[in-house]
Symmetry: C4
Subunit: 199 residues, 4 copies
C-alpha cells in the first residue's frame, strides 16, 4: 500500500471527526439569547478539539513525510490511533455539557484527558515504530530531523496525563490545561514537529 | 507539506460541513404536509449556507492556485479559518428554527452574521498573509491577478458585518441580506476571485 | 480550476450524503425484534437512496470524463446540483418514517419525487451546458459518445416527474417506482452513460 | 473510470462510516460517572466496528492493487458492497444499546451478524468477479498472490454466519465472537490478504 493511500484515509477521518464536533453545539428550549450565552463552554470545547485535531493532522503528515513505505504492523497501529482520534467528539460533548455542572464535571474532564492521553500515546507508538532502527524511514531522512521529531512528540503523553490527574481535584482547571495544550502546540515549533520547515 | 495535502484536508472539511447542513432540516410531529410548508426557512437556510460554503471552497482554490508553498503560520491561520467554516451548521440551524419566532430571531440572525463575518475576516487574513510581500506566492503569479483577488475579497467582512448590525433592528431583513450576499457572490465575477478565468 | 479538484469535492459530497443516510434508520422504544421488522421501509429507503447516489456519482464521472476544463457557470451549476444531491437524506427520512402511515405518506412521497426530479433536471442542465456547442468538451470526445450520453440522461427528469405525479394518487406505488428507477439505472447500460465502456 | 476514482469514493465511504460510529456513544440523564461505566458496551462496539471497517478498507486496497481496470458490473457490485458497509453504524448502535438488556440482545446480535455476513459475502463476490478468469486483473498479477487472496477471504462469510447462528442461543457470546473476529483479522496475515507484503 502506498503511503499516499494511508494519508488519504487518515485525512478523511481527521476531517470528518473535526467537522462532526459541531453536532455537540446545541441549544435547548428557553430564551435563545440566554441559552447562547449559557452554552459558552460548547464553543470553547468545539474550538479546542477542532484545533487539536488540526494539530494531530499536521503532525501525522510530518510523520508520513519521513516514511518511505508502510508495513502491516504500522497499518494496525495507525488504525488503532484513528480509532482514538475519531473518539474525540464524545469527550468533547461531555465537556461541553457537564463542565459547569457540580455533578459530572469531574467525570467529563477525566474522560477527555484519558482520550487525549491515548491519542498522544498511540501517536508516539506510531512514530517510534516507524523510526526505531529507521525501520520505515526514507533513506534520505536526516537523523537530526528524525531526532527532533522524536523529542517534540515525547512530552505529549505526560502533559495530557498530568492534566487528567488534575481533573480529579479540579475539572475546570484541567479543562483550561487542555485548551492551553492546544494553544501551546499551535504556537510552539513542534506544531509541525520539524524545525527544518513544514516540508 | 505540499499545498495539495492542505487542499485535500480543507476540501474534506468544506464538503462535510456542507453536507451536514441537511441534518438541520427536520419535521416535528403534527400534520406532515403542514409541517413541510411551515419549515420553509429551513430549506432557504440550507440552500444559502450550502451555496455559501461552495463559494468559500471555490475561493479557497483560487488562493491555493496562486501559492507555491505553505509555512507554519499559514497552516495555523488555515486551521482557524476551517474552525469557523465548520461552525456554519450551528447558526444555520438557529436561523432555520428561530427566524420566524418572535423570541429568538434576533439572536439567531446575529450569531449567523457573526459567523459569516469571522469566515470573511479569517479568509482575508489567510490570503493577505500569503500575498503580503509575495510571501508564499508562485514566482509567476501576475501582480494584476493578485491585486484583483485582494480587491475582490476586501468587501466581504464589511458586508457581513453590516448585515449583522441590521439584525439588531430587523432579523428577517438581515437573513434576506445573507441570502442576497450568497446570490451576489455566485453571479459576481469575484466568485473565483480572478478576472482572468477560473484557472 | 482543474477538473480533478471539482471531482474530488463533488465525490466528497456524494460519499458523505450517501453515508449519512444510515442516520435515518433508527428504532424507537418497544420490543426490539418487532421494531426491527416494522421499520422495513427504512431499509428499503436507505438502499434505494444509497444506490441512487451511487448512480449519480458514476454518471458525474462520465460527464467529467468528457470535459477538458470548467468555467464559472459550470461551477455554479455544479454547486446547485450538489445542493440538491446533499438534500436527499431528508426526503429519504420522510419516506422511511411516513410511507406506511395514513397521514403523511402522500407528502413524503411527493417531496422525495420532487427532489429526485430536481437532481435529474440539474444534472441534465450540467451536462447540456458542457456539451452544447462542445463548449467544455475534450477535443477528442467522440460525437457518438456525447450524443449517447445526452440521450441516456434525457428520460430521467420525466420519469421522476411522472413518479411524483403518481404519488398524489398512490404514495406506495410511487415509492415502488423510485425503487424501480434505481434498479433500472443499475442494470441499464446508461448506468455509465456510455455504451463504449466505463472509461 | 480509472481505479483511483473508485478507490477515492470507496475510501470516503469507509472513513465516514467509521467516523460516524462515535454518534452511537452517548449518555442519558443520571449520574454521569455511573453512566460512563454502564455504557461500556458502547466503547467495545465502537472499537470493534471501527477496526472492522479499517480491515475492510485495507482489504479493499489489496483487491484494487491487483486490478487494472473496472467494468460496469464491478461498479454495481462495489456500490452494493458499500451500501452494506455504510449500514454498519446501525447494528453497532443496536449492539451498544441492547446487548446487556434481557429483551433486545438477541435481535441486536442477529442484525449485527447478518450485516457482517453480508459485508463478507459481497466482498467475496467483488473479488471473485474481478479474479475469475483474471477478468479485471493486472497482467502482471502473480497467480500465487491471487490464489492467496482468494483463500484468505473465503472463511469470512462462514465465520460471520456461524457467529450469527450463535446469537440465536447466546447473544453475548456472539458479540464476543464479532470482537474476536476483528482481533483475529488484525493479527492474522490475511489482514492485507497478501503474504508477499502489504503492496
Amino acid at each position: 500500500m502506498p503511503t499516499s493511500r494511508l494519508e488519504a484515509f487518515s485525512d478523511g477521518v481527521f476531517a470528518i471527526a473535526a467537522t462532526l464536533l459541531i453536532l455537540n453545539v446545541s441549544v435547548t428550549s428557553g430564551s435563545l439569547s440566554e441559552e447562547l450565552v449559557k452554552i459558552w463552554p460548547s464553543y470553547v470545547a468545539y474550538a479546542v478539539s477542532f484545533v487539536t485535531i488540526g494539530i494531530i493532522w499536521a503532525n501525522h503528515h510530518t510523520v508520513m513525510g519521513q516514511i518511505s513505505h508502510v508495513d502491516r504492523t504500522f497499518l494496525v497501529i495507525n488504525t488503532l490511533f484513528l480509532t482514538v482520534v475519531a473518539f474525540i467528539p464524545f469527550p468533547t460533548h461531555l465537556l461541553s455539557e457537564y463542565i459547569l455542572k457540580p455533578e459530572g464535571a469531574r467525570a467529563a474532564a477525566i474522560v477527555y484527558g484519558i482520550t487525549g492521553t491515548l491519542v498522544a500515546v498511540s501517536f508516539n507508538v506510531l512514530w517510534r515504530y516507524a523510526a526505531s532502527g529507521r525501520r520505515l524511514l526514507k533513506s534520505n531522512a536526516s537523523s537530526r530531523t528524525v531526532d527532533g521529531i522524536s523529542r517534540s512528540y515525547l512530552p505529549g503523553p505526560f502533559l495530557y496525563a498530568a492534566a487528567t490527574v488534575v481533573a480529579v481535584w479540579n475539572p475546570v482547571v484541567s479543562a483550561g490545561l487542555y485548551a492551553a495544550l492546544a494553544l501551546f502546540y499551535v504556537v510552539e515549533s513542534s506544531f509541525f514537529g520539524d524545525r527544518e520547515g513544514p516540508g
